[in-house]
Amino acid sequence: MATATYVPIATQTLSTSASSITFSSIPSTYTDLRLVFVGNSSAANRYLTLTFNADSGTNYSMTYLVGDGTTAASGNRTSDTSLYTNNYGGSSITIPQFITADIFSYTGSTYKTVLCTTSSDKNGSGNTDRVAGLWRSTSAITSITMQYLITGSNINAGTTATLWGI
């Protein structure tokens, strides 16, 4: 049998709400990482953000392309303390949103590029986003923390996050 190249590293499904989800001790044996998140938040229209290696410095930036059902727009954020996976938030208290993050060459000694997709349709509102993200660190990624901003919004029970190694 051929060696599997799309390998589940870990899955977390919340049985109770939590302020964040963290994947730690990520093995350095893969080429890329893929994060798949299906969930919602305790307050509406929050942004799911990623923090790598618990780095809360102003080392994150992103450029986004978004559609809200009426208008297409593009913009960017610079020197953030975490990586925004989208610019419109779009989370719901009841309707799950689907977010992916592809993290390329996560063990390399260059800055880390991340491509994110957010699908947050809410039957008459919501958005679809594509984000190019950057973490300005040359360290290998060993942990990833997901958290909804703004502070005070939890990740709801039932949310599932899976980290894949490729």
């Binding site: 599997a4 392309l65 679809t128």
Partner: protein, 172 residues
């Protein structure tokens, strides 16, 4: 280690068909992925794919799309249908060109509304190329998805050589 990204079923059309159905989808995976190459008999350049789950043809679907045509970007929305925008070629597109699409359905057995993500594109070496990213939602039921129907949005039939592949992804 067992493969985690498996082909469940495929359909490559030998003749035109109004729709394609994947039924009896096993409930043993975590996520589903559809990868499609398609062209329809629509007398236009750009075709949309329409999706229905579990034979539910009510208005329990919605989507928000971001799209570009080589000249401008725009965004549109449906509130009673699930259309993966600009994911197939119409029949006045450049000969032999097919649209390409990937639709990712996470947690398809979870007891919740089903969000999904779609990306579709068609490059035709003409002034009107197209691509679209779609956020979709099925809220008709919290039941697991066991069948998927893919029909033509504007025309009447998918044309010969259109291909539809359904994969299952397993996280354990």
């Amino acid at each position: 280690m067992a493969a985690t990204y498996n082909l469940i079923s495929s359909q490559v059309l030998g003749s035109s068909a109004a729709s394609v159905t994947f039924s009896s989808i096993p409930q043993t995976y975590t996520d589903l992925v559809l990868r499609i190459s398609a062209r329809s008999d629509f007398s236009g350049v750009v075709e949309n794919m329409m999706f229905s789950f579990n034979s539910d043809y009510s208005g329990s679907y919605s989507d928000t799309a971001l799209r570009g045509n080589g000249a401008a970007a725009s965004s549109v929305r449906d509130t009673s249908a699930l259309s993966i925008y600009w994911s197939a070629a119409g029949n006045i597109s450049t000969s032999n060109t097919f649209g390409s699409a990937e639709i990712y359905i996470p947690s398809y057995t979870a007891s919740q509304y089903k969000p999904l993500s779609g990306i579709g594109a068609g490059e035709t070496n003409a002034t009107t190329a197209y691509m679209g990213a779609t956020a979709g939602l099925y809220r008709g039921s919290t039941s697991a998805i066991s069948s998927i129907l893919i029909s033509v949005g504007n025309g009447s039939n998918w044309l010969t050589n259109s291909s539809f592949y359904l994969y299952g992804i397993k996280n354990s």
